[in-house]
Structure formats: C-alpha cells, structure tokens
C-alpha cells in the first residue's frame, strides 16, 4: 500500500525523460561524427525541424494574433518556452534599434545532469534551442539569427541566447506568375 503514496510525478518524469533522451542523442552524435562542428550543425537542424512543427501547435493553442514588432515576438517566444519546457527566460539587453535581444535562463532543463568534458568547449550542447527558435520564426516570415552568448555548461552564471532580427521574409511569387 505504501506504493500508492509515492506515485510518480508525471511532469517531473516527462522533463527528465526529455533531458535524458536529449543527452543520449547528443552522445550518439558525438560517436557518429568526428567533428564537433558537425554535431552542432545536426543539433541545430533537428531544432529547426522541430521549430517548424512546433509553431503550428503553438499558434493553435494560443490563438495569438500576428506580431507587429520584435517586442511582441519576444513575448511569444518567452511564452513558448514556458509552455513547452516549463522555464521562464527573462528578456533583456535590447539593442537601441530594437532588433536584437537576449533570452536569459537561470536554469535550463536540457542541461540538468550534464557536465561537459573539458575537451568539448566548442560543443553547443543546447544548439537545438536556437534551431527551434529559428525554425519557428521562419514559419511566421521572420528571419532571425540566434546564438549563445553565455552558457552555464561553460562556467557562465546564466545561459543567454541572443536573437537578432535579420529581415522579413516576403511571400514568394508562385512559379509561373511573374
């Protein structure tokens, strides 16, 4: 009967499963590729593919209207992190032109239980997050650049992702209608 009292906490298990599976994937990739840059590229690509699909889920759950400026977008990105990873990054360090900002994470669910060996300092362990943001925003016609400024895994205090607006993607003209 004592077992009934210690039922598993579904939320916690889910995020741990995600973390651990992600770790298994990264270590598999490190085995597959000799070059760490290739691993970074793959992680980013996987994130990109996920982002493209996640945006649809996000839009259907939140029914949010079109964002008119980067500040709205930043709020939505923050909201998405809360929804999907249960973390609340802070938005800060806006550039004067308002086209660049940072997401700051106190803790990052993907890096729980993770320590980087010293010879892997150029591995972007959480590169998948950048890919996700890029993929998702591309589906709402925003081209952005996304990179890590700080990373707790590399000894920084916080994890900081920088997002820079590049341009608005215009709808392409369908082939044969020029």
């Amino acid at each position: 009967m004592s077992r009934q009292a210690t039922r598993l906490d579904a939320k916690k298990v889910n995020s741990e499963l995600l973390t651990l599976t992600y770790g298994s994937l990264v270590s598999q990739m490190l085995r597959d590729f000799e070059n760490i840059d290739d691993v970074n590229k793959q992680l980013e690509r996987i994130g990109y593919n996920m982002g493209m699909r996640l945006i649809e889920d996000f839009l259907s759950r939140t029914s949010s209207p079109r964002c008119l400026e980067m500040r709205d977008t930043a709020d939505k990105v923050q909201q998405a992190f809360r929804m999907y990873l249960n973390v609340q990054p802070t938005i800060s360090n806006w550039s004067a032109a308002g086209d660049e900002y940072s997401l700051i994470f106190d803790n990052n669910p993907l890096t729980e239980f993770v320590e980087l060996p010293p010879d892997m300092t150029n591995l972007r362990y959480c590169g998948i997050l950048c890919g996700c943001i890029r993929g998702a925003l591309e589906m709402v016609q925003l081209e952005v650049q996304c990179w890590f400024v700080q990373d707790q895994l590399k000894g920084d205090n916080n994890t900081e992702i920088r997002i820079k607006f590049i341009r608005r993607l215009e709808d392409a003209i369908p082939a044969g209608e020029d």
């Binding site: 298990v13 995020s15 298994s24 994937l25 996987i46």
Partner: protein, 152 residues
C-alpha cells in the same frame, strides 16, 4: 499536455536523424538511445520506492506507473508464460496513432517502436532484469512488446 507534444516531435526527429544518415535499415542506434535513456530514467524514478517483490511485480510497474507517466495510458494487456516471456500489448501506441492505420504504412512501424523497445530494456536492466525486447505491429496503431528475460 504541451510537454507531450515536444517529446513526440523530438522523438520523430530522432527517428529522422538516425534512420536517414548512412544507417540504412539499422535500428540499433535508435534502440540504444532508448536503452540509455531508460536506464538513467529508472534510476531516478524508483529511487525512493520499496524493492519490487519479484519479476512480475516489476513488469506490472512498467505496465502501469511507468507507462502512464510516459505515454499517458496503461498497457492494455499483459500476458506471461511464467517462464520469462512477457507480452505487453498497447492497443493504441501513441507514436503510431498519428500514422494512417491502413496496411500501406506498416513498413514504417518498426522505426517508431525501436526507441520504446530500448526504453523498456534499459529500465529493466537497471532493475536487475536482463532482457531482450522486440516489438510486433500487426495492425496500426496496436503494438505488442515481447520481453524475453535472459537468464544466465
């Protein structure tokens, strides 16, 4: 809710990555990822649990608590011959429910169940049961996991 979505997309990207890159029809890497995750996960999940009574008790745990936190449902049927063979049947296995249930997509089923085979094998391994896990999909989206306990 939305966390499930993340895991589902993530899983299908893993499948995508491991299945296209130079591996051909080799599912072992996919299974191994499941194994490694299951092995570590179970260590955290059962840390404060009383020891399982026996093998069957462990299997019941996999079918109920374990399955329901990961896949949000129980295993529909557990059968055993009491000699080390267990068959876990899920009538609507979550990774398969989004795929057309016609037989024309049946060839794609193995890659979507390989991770879970590994997950079960890894979990059991860390609970002291050395096993071989295979899956059988006859009609989508129902799936049978065969667990063969290896005794030495």
């Amino acid at each position: 809710m939305s966390e499930d979505q993340i895991f589902e997309y993530f899983h299908s990207e893993i499948v995508n990555y491991l299945y296209n890159e130079k591996t051909g029809n080799d599912l072992s890497a996919l299974e191994y990822i499941g194994y490694a995750s299951g092995y570590r996960l179970i260590e955290r999940l059962t840390r404060e649990w009383p020891r399982f009574k026996d093998e069957l008790d462990t299997m019941k745990f996999i079918c109920t608590d374990f399955w329901s936190v990961i896949y949000k449902k129980h295993i529909d049927n557990l059968r055993t011959n009491h000699q080390g063979v267990y068959v876990l049947q899920d009538n609507a296995f979550p990774f398969l429910t989004k795929i057309s249930d016609g037989s024309e997509k049946l060839e794609h089923a193995p890659k979507y169940v390989a991770f879970t085979c590994g997950l079960i094998r890894g979990s059991l391994a860390n609970l002291g049961i050395n096993s071989t896990v295979t899956a059988e999909v006859q009609t989508m989206p129902s799936c049978k996991f065969h667990i063969q306990v290896n005794r030495t």
